[in-house]
Structure formats: structure tokens, C-alpha cells
């Protein structure tokens, strides 16, 4: 299994590598151009720029994803140029709702690379995880398997000069015929980073601890039960682009899964999982020297759910999957402001009024062979969603704005898609059309005076929002020659009832210094276009060049450019390998950005180019396998900021790093 991962080292640039050409032409394999980012700190691909970088670093390598940064920690993944409300992030199919009203804790911030083996990124509405517009990410847990007795251990460590980042991780695997147990532990601790030019960026420190355990138990020759849990805790996390930091972000994630395979001749696999998770998030501003008023903003979110999935096939012509999943979530967040005048009572409001979400979803997915070298995949899903404001005070608060508001809303969310796939000896193509609906997020529907420090507005949820819907067209083409490979991925989303905050002159801002109040409204139409081009060329056995260009375009009717849209950006690396040595030079940059969303607080951006370099050495001895990797990011110590940096927060300047790994 691990060999597969080593082989997938090049995944960073081309996703198609892992798909065996031969197997495609005759039997029916559900092939898709969806992207898989391999995250395997053990047995790691040495060519990965930073093998022990964060989950965010790994995800950023995808052409489909952008990581929106409010600080050096917990970047928000944007799929296909769309904000996180429009996508679903799951951990092995498990739903988690973030607990921060200000998007400071995306689901991806509650896992570590040691917990994961891969991130499966799907664009459009073809996923089984639920109603999403932009796509989905499923973070797959690292698991071993049953087999002859074997124990493995790994230890890694690293240091980065720019922010004195210290990282340390350990993992252990105990494999037996009837059970296995995986444990992992990791920590990262960083001080303030230095921006290009050398100045320190205040409030950019963080500390994170993470533990994971998985226990597999083979109940019979055909069935297994797997218990899996993650505990993640980040403390003293600075968000330099925001007016507040985080004292604590904590998640407890647990699941138990039963899998049986095969059931019968045509029923390949049946998986059922029950899960629960609890997230606690405490924002505070006690470290900030100058604030107009002190405040605390704690939030919490609890999710319980489960799913059952059946996979089967028919005559080698059809490969199908049935999914039934459901979950219950409650999201609660409050804000207490401490008056500067002694003796005055604290000001208290509910920013998320204990919103209960009930969600059930059924979907079917079938891949069938149309002809040799051609197959189609159809996917249909239907979800019922119920939102309920459970806190009376929260309901009364919202009724100030919406006197007729009912405490509960039910919605039916439909989705479906069709993809046709061609595969020939040297090329591979996909054409797909999908459509989906989504319900407004907790903040969009029920948020109460949520301050957005980018455009300077307080945001008000709107419980009367209609469903947002999208039609997405996706085309992808990949070419694989012996020395050259190329990939082109294009997609276009047409959105209807696009949810966006619009200024409301007749409301007073609550936050001191805020520009006004924005309320979520809907644009009748918006569109987003994404293009990713990847090239890889091997002029010599020891040399590899790869490059990726990304471009996005977003526009809303009577709105103009959509916010957080990537300008033309590129990344290019030369890799040289010789025996146990490796050397790489990288170039990364973006064109200037003039097309910005002024209404969202954006301003134009200059172009930039960065230079990177790294080298590694690895060897195998009687004590195990070793890897030592060092490098420099932003070699010229350039000062820069990107479209994905909140409030145009400058990114780190020159950074020298050293990562070490030992496995035995």
C-alpha cells in the first residue's frame, strides 16, 4: 500500500499518474479526474517541497484549491474560487461544522498530516458527501491493514527559521492478523513570522497539538470494525489580519465503522459508520494592546451522524454505489463585550443562536461502460435539511430584523450530474455537467452582527434566503507520453441566487469603527470560471520539470467581480535526483490583479515572483530509513501579499528550513 504512495510522489503535479492505462481499456474502473493529494508523512515522497508541512501546505498544491489566510494558521480552503460555505469538507465521510463565526477554524485546521493519508478533492456536485456547489474535500484517515505481525515506528522533526517553527511528530503502527493499531502524535509551535524585508508580523504565533488513534479489528474473514479518533488542540493562535486572536481551538472527533466485503457476488462492499465530534473555539483579544472595547467570542459546535454505503456491480458493465447519510448539528456562538466604564453591565449577544441542523441525504452513483474506452457516470442525490433556531433569546434577536421569522425552516436539496469519460492509450478526457442546490450556512441565515474586518462591515444573517443553486460544466484532458505529460482542466459554474452581503444604509453598525451593516442577499446570477494547466517534462532520467498555471474569473450580475478570485498564478519546479540525493529549484508567482471586488474591500495587487530551493539526502541503514531535507523559501526575501491574504496581510519573507525523518 505504501508503495502506491511512493509512486504517487508526482501527484503534486499530475493526478493521472496513478491511473493504470491498461486496466482502463477493458474492465470498468471508476476513473475520474478528481484530484487526490497524497499526504503520507511516513514513507514520504522526498520530492514534496515540505514533507512535514501543514495540511494547508499540502492542500495548496492543488490547482483547484486556494487557501485563504487570515494568519499563518488555519487557512480556509476555497474550492474552485468559492468560499467554504459552498463546499463540504469531511473526514472519512464524517461531517464537521466549524465553531467560529469568523471562519478562523475550517475543518482542515482540526487535523494534522499525521492523521491523514490523502485528501480527495472533487469538483462540482458529484460527491456523495452532500449538497455542495463548489465541490468537496474528503480527508482520508491514515490506516494500516491486517497482515502478518509487523510493527513500524516513525519520528520526524523540523525547524523553520522565519518563525522559529518547531515541529515534532511520532507515529506507531502495530499490525497483526486480526487487529491493527495506529497511533500518532504531533506538535507545532511557532513564534511571530518575519515578512519580506525582515519586519516582524505581530500576532502571528501559534501552537498546535494533535493526537490520533485508529484501532482495527477483524471480526471475520470478510468483515471489520474500525474505531478512529482525533484530538486536536490549538492554543494562543494569532490572526494578524483580524482584530482578534484565538485562545483555544479544540476538536474531539470519533467514529466507529463496520465494513463487510464482499457481501454477495454483485455486492462488493457495505460500510456503515457512526460518528460524533465536538468543536470548541474561543476567540479573545486580551493580547491586543489597543482595542476600542474588550470582548470574548466563544463558539461551539457538536455534530452526530452516520452513513451507510453499499457498493456493487453488474455484469462488469455497471459499478454502482448507494449512500445514505444523516447528521445532526448544533452551532452556538456568543459575544460578550466588557464596557470601559466601571460598574456598567457587560454587553451580551448571541452571534449564532444555537442553530440545530438536521440533515438526511440519499444518493446513488453509477458508472457504466458505454463502449471500449468510454464510460459514463451518473450521480443523483436528494437531501432534506431542517434548520431550527433553538435559543429563545437568539430568536427574539433575529426577530428585530425579521418580525415574521419562523424558528424552523425545512428544505429539500437536489443534485445530479452526468460525466462522460474517454480513455485512450496516451490520453484521457472527461466532460461533465452537474447541478446542485445548497442551504444557506448558519452565518448566512442566522449570524448576528458578525464583523468582517476585510470590508469593515457587520454582517447580518438572513433567514429568508432561498436555496442557492449552480450548474457546473467541467472538462478535463490529460496527455501522457513517455517524457511529457500535460493536463488541462476547465470548469464553469453558473450560480443562481448567489448569496452575498450587501450594504444596508438604514442599519447602524454595531462594531465600533465598522463602516456599516451588510445583510446577506442574493444575486440572480453569478458565474465563476476556472482553468488549470499542468505540464511535466523529463528531459533526462535524472531531471524533471513541472509547472502549473491557474486562472479564475468570477462575476456577479449587478455586482461586478466576485471577491477572492485568483489572478493568473503559476508555479514551476526543476527537480534533479542522483542516487540518494535530490535538488530542486522553484519559481512561484502571480500576475498583477486589477480586477477586484471593491465592494468586498479588495484593492489591486502587484505581480510577484518568488524563488525557492531545496535539497535532500536519504539513506537506509540497519537502524531504519532516514531522510534529511533542507531548503529556502522566498530566497530573495521578497515582500509580497496575494489575493488570498485577508486584508492584504503580507506573507513570510525568507525562510530556511530543515526537516528530518527516521522510520524503523
Amino acid at each position: 500500500m505504501f508503495n502506491k504512495y511512493i509512486g504517487a510522489a508526482v501527484f503534486m503535479l499530475l493526478c493521472l499518474h496513478a491511473i493504470g492505462q491498461e486496466s482502463l481499456s477493458d474492465t470498468l474502473t471508476p476513473v475520474s479526474l478528481d484530484e487526490v493529494i497524497v499526504i503520507a508523512p511516513r514513507q514520504t515522497p522526498a520530492q514534496k517541497v515540505k514533507p512535514y508541512g501543514s495540511v494547508d501546505d499540502y492542500l495548496e498544491s492543488s490547482g483547484v484549491l486556494n487557501m485563504l489566510r487570515r494568519g499563518p494558521y488555519a487557512a480556509e480552503p476555497l474550492i474552485n474560487g468559492m468560499s467554504s460555505e459552498r463546499s463540504i469538507i469531511t473526514i472519512d465521510g464524517m461531517r464537521i461544522y466549524a465553531a467560529c463565526t469568523d471562519k478562523m477554524d475550517p475543518v482542515t485546521s482540526y487535523v494534522e498530516i499525521t492523521n491523514l493519508s490523502a485528501a480527495h478533492i472533487q469538483s462540482g456536485a458529484m460527491g456523495s458527501s452532500g449538497a455542495s456547489i463548489a465541490g468537496s474535500i474528503d480527508l482520508q484517515r491514515r490506516k494500516s491493514h491486517f497482515g502478518s505481525t509487523k510493527n513500524n515506528f516513525g519520528l520526524f522533526s523540523g525547524y523553520e527559521s522565519n518563525n522559529q517553527l518547531k515541529l515534532l511528530g511520532a507515529s506507531g503502527t502495530f499490525r497483526r492478523k486480526t487487529y491493527y493499531a495506529d497511533f500518532d502524535l504531533s506538535m507545532r509551535d511557532a513564534e511571530n513570522y518575519r515578512i519580506g524585508g525582515g519586519a516582524k508580523q505581530a500576532f502571528s504565533q501559534y501552537s498546535k497539538y494533535n493526537m490520533g488513534a485508529t484501532l482495527g479489528w477483524r471480526t471475520s474473514s470478510r468483515s471489520e470494525i474500525v474505531f478512529s479518533s482525533i484530538y486536536d488542540r490549538a492554543v494562543d493562535v494569532g490572526y494578524p489580519a483580524l482584530p482578534m486572536d484565538v485562545r483555544l481551538a479544540e476538536a474531539m472527533i470519533a467514529s466507529v465503522q463496520y465494513r463487510r466485503k464482499p457481501l454477495k457476488e454483485n455486492l462488493a462492499e457495505w460500510t456503515t459508520k457512526l460518528y460524533g465530534n465536538h468543536v470548541r473555539h474561543i476567540m479573545d483579544d486580551s493580547q491586543r494592546p489597543n482595542v476600542p472595547i474588550r470582548m470574548d467570542m466563544p463558539g461551539r459546535s457538536t455534530t452526530l451522524g452516520g452513513f451507510s454505503q453499499l457498493k456493487g456491480q453488474k455484469n462488469g458493465q455497471h459499478k454502482w454505489r448507494l449512500d445514505l447519510n444523516g447528521h445532526f448539528n448544533r452551532s452556538y456562538a456568543e459575544m460578550t463585550m466588557y464596557a470601559n466604564h466601571p460598574g456598567e453591565k457587560d454587553m451580551f449577544m448571541l452571534t449564532w443562536p444555537d442553530v440545530h441542523t438536521y440533515y438526511v441525504d440519499a444518493s446513488i452513483d453509477d458508472t457504466w461502460r458505454l463502449a471500449s474506452g468510454m464510460h459514463a457516470r451518473v450521480s443523483l442525490g436528494l437531501a432534506a435539511q431542517r434548520n431550527q433556531v433553538a435559543n429563545e433569546m437568539g430568536l427574539q434577536s433575529l426577530r428585530i430584523f425579521y418580525p415574521e421569522m419562523r424558528p424552523a425552516i425545512n428544505r429539500l436539496l437536489k443534485r445530479g450530474g452526468l460525466t462522460v469519460h474517454w480513455h485512450q492509450k496516451i490520453w484521457n478526457a472527461e466532460l461533465g455537467l452537474s447541478c446542485a442546490e445548497r442551504a444557506p450556512s448558519v452565518s448566512e441565515a442566522y449570524g448576528f452582527y458578525l464583523f468582517n474586518s476585510y470590508d469593515g462591515y457587520d454582517y447580518l444573517g438572513n433567514p429568508n434566503l432561498a436555496k442557492e443553486s449552480a450548474v457546473a460544466m467541467q472538462a478535463a484532458w490529460k496527455l501522457q507520453l513517455s517524457r511529457l505529460s500535460a493536463g488541462l482542466q476547465l470548469n464553469q459554474h453558473w450560480l443562481h441566487n448567489y448569496i452575498v452581503g450587501m450594504p444596508q444604509a438604514h442599519y447602524n453598525a454595531m462594531t465600533i469603527g465598522a463602516a456599516g451593516v451588510k445583510q446577506y442577499e442574493q444575486l440572480t446570477a453569478a458565474q465563476i470560471f476556472n482553468a488549470v494547466l499542468q505540464l511535466s517534462y523529463r528531459p533526462h532520467r535524472l531531471l524533471l520539470w513541472d509547472a502549473q498555471w491557474t486562472y479564475r474569473y468570477g462575476d456577479g450580475r449587478n455586482f461586478g467581480p466576485l471577491p477572492m478570485i485568483q489572478p493568473l498564478s503559476y508555479r514551476s519546479w526543476w527537480h534533479g535526483t542522483f542516487r540518494q540525493w535530490g535538488l530542486a529549484f522553484g519559481l512561484e508567482g502571480a500576475a498583477s490583479q486589477r480586477r477586484v471586488s471593491i465592494i468586498s474591500g479588495e484593492s489591486g495587487l502587484p505581480a510577484y515572483v518568488l524563488l525557492h530551493a531545496n535539497a535532500y539526502y536519504r539513506w537506509q541503514g540497519s537502524w531504519g530509513k532516514f531522510l534529511i531535507k533542507g531548503g529556502v523559501d522566498n530566497l530573495s526575501d521578497r515582500y509580497y501579499t496575494t489575493f488570498a491574504d485577508w486584508n492584504r496581510l503580507p506573507r513570510p519573507g525568507r525562510n530556511i528550513y530543515l526537516h528530518l525523518n527516521w522510520e524503523w
Binding site: I293, M337, N340
Partner: protein, 284 residues
């Protein structure tokens, strides 16, 4: 499996909570009886025959609007049922002046053992010099009695009442009646507006309009939406909607307009004007 059972348990708890909630909702309206049980004694006032227990919800009397409850007893504490009762709250000042304050006539409640009225005390008691005296007259068994005694009126920590001279040269008193227990949300606001002539003859002012603009001076003086003008209601008070978006200290700025739409007192809030000269305060 453990998760499954905790899920089941949470469903059961949720269902039970729902039932409990439904059960509570039914009982939410407190009966009259409950109201009287919750009253707290302010003090007894006695003459040589009887005593009157003065009650309020808090057990105190404060500057501003007060709902006041009375019960007549004999000296042994047995409740008596007078045929009628009237009262007059009076302020006697060391300067020799005396005046009354806006108040309601005593209404006889159903069972006729409890009597109810309101008084809008315009100032606090100040030692032995400036004091409030409640003066009762009642008829019991065909005989008329008088009873009077001092009560202590405490200052209010927040402005619940304002006396002012209007642009029309007349003296006014405005006092906050409701919300007495504000919520975050839309509150029904109720204020009393009275004109006083030489501090004695006090009468309701009818059919004016009170514009309100609640603000939080400690939070950048932000306001709240969907407030409505207070208009006169037959119960003698002005009513309208008051939106409070959070707990804390609120200043309810007001502009008072007469029947012709002329401003009697108060200024609108603007960038340069943080507060009206006419306002009441709330803190919760």
C-alpha cells in the same frame, strides 16, 4: 456502539425537553394569585386602628414608575376588606414646598383584599428633610378613616424619569413604565407623559408623539432598527416598539412632538450630536 447509545440518549433527551418545554409554555402566564405571592413588603404604615402593608415587586420604591400594592389589616394581621380606598403620595421638602407626583387612583382588585395603583416618584427621599408621605383615606364598615406615613424612595441607578421644561414653556414629566424586564429583541415600550402646573395639578398629556432612538454610548453609540414611535393609548400611556440588540446599557434618546408636530423637547441623533437632551436609560 457507545456512540449509537449516546445518540439515542440525546434524542430521548431532546424529546423529553420538548415535552417539558410544551408543559412549561402552558404555565407561563402567571395567575393573579401568583403575582400577589411574589410581592414583597416595602413597609407597614399604621394608625391607631389598622395598618396598611405597602408592597412592590422588588420590596422597594424607587424614583420613576412604580407599581404599588396595598393591603389593609387589623393590628393582629387579619386582612380587612374596605369598601373604598384612596391615596395621595406627597413630597414634603425642607424648603417648605410640597408637591404630589403622577399616580393612579387606587383600583380595587377582584377579591378586594388587594389594592393596586402606580406612582411615578419624581425624586428620591433625602433624609428627614425631603420625604415622601403616603396619605390614605378608606371606608371600613361604614366609617371613614385616615392613615398616613413616610416611605423611603430610593434613587434609581439609571435615568427612568426626566422632568423638563418644554419649548412651549410648560413643565413635563416623562417616565419609563415598560419594559421593566427588558429582553434582547423587540420590547413593548411604555412611558407616561404628564404636565404639572405649579407642581400640584398633574395631568396626562394626550396625543403627542414620542420618537425614540435607542443607542449604546459605550459601543460607538450604535442604534437598533425597527423601533416605532410611541403613541398615546387609552390606558394613559404611550406605547411603541423598542428594539434592543444586546444586553448592556442603552440610552433611549427621544424627541417629543405635540399634536401639531412641533418639537417640544429633544434633538435627533446625528454624527455631531451623540445624545438628545431628552432621554431615558435602561440597563440589563
Amino acid at each position: 456502539m457507545k456512540l449509537a447509545s449516546s445518540y439515542m440518549r440525546s434524542i430521548i433527551v431532546a424529546v423529553l425537553t420538548l415535552f417539558l418545554f410544551a408543559a412549561c409554555t402552558k404555565d407561563e402566564k402567571p395567575s393573579e394569585q401568583n403575582l400577589y405571592e411574589k410581592l414583597r413588603l416595602v413597609q407597614y404604615i399604621e394608625n391607631e386602628h389598622h395598618r396598611i402593608g405597602v408592597y412592590s415587586r422588588s420590596g422597594t420604591l424607587t424614583v420613576g414608575y412604580n407599581d404599588v400594592y396595598f393591603q389593609l389589616e387589623d393590628k393582629q394581621g387579619n386582612v380587612l376588606y374596605p369598601a373604598s380606598m384612596s391615596w395621595l403620595p406627597m413630597m414634603y421638602m425642607s424648603s417648605g414646598h410640597s408637591h404630589s407626583c403622577p399616580h393612579a387612583d387606587i383600583a380595587i382588585a377582584d377579591k378586594a383584599s388587594w389594592f393596586q395603583a402606580f406612582a411615578i416618584f419624581t425624586m428620591a427621599s433625602e433624609g428627614d428633610g425631603d420625604y415622601w408621605q403616603l396619605e390614605f383615606t378608606y371606608v371600613l364598615n361604614g366609617q371613614s378613616y385616615q392613615l398616613l406615613g413616610r416611605v423611603s424612595v430610593r434613587p434609581s441607578p439609571r435615568r427612568t424619569l426626566q422632568q423638563f421644561l418644554g419649548a412651549d414653556g410648560k413643565s413635563y414629566v416623562i417616565a419609563l413604565k415598560a419594559p421593566s424586564e427588558p429582553i434582547v429583541g423587540i420590547n413593548e415600550m411604555e412611558v407616561g407623559l404628564f404636565q404639572s402646573h405649579m407642581g400640584h395639578h398633574i395631568e396626562e398629556v394626550k396625543d403627542y408623539i414620542i420618537k425614540i432612538d435607542p443607542r449604546m454610548p459605550t459601543m460607538g453609540n450604535h442604534g437598533s432598527p425597527n423601533n416605532t414611535d410611541l403613541t398615546y393609548h387609552p390606558n394613559g400611556f404611550y406605547k411603541g416598539n423598542l428594539s434592543l440588540t444586546m444586553t448592556g446599557y442603552w440610552r433611549i434618546n427621544m424627541v417629543l412632538l405635540n399634536q401639531l408636530g412641533e418639537t417640544i423637547k429633544g434633538e435627533p441623533i446625528t454624527e455631531d450630536n451623540e445624545s438628545s437632551s431628552l432621554y431615558l436609560e435602561l440597563e440589563f
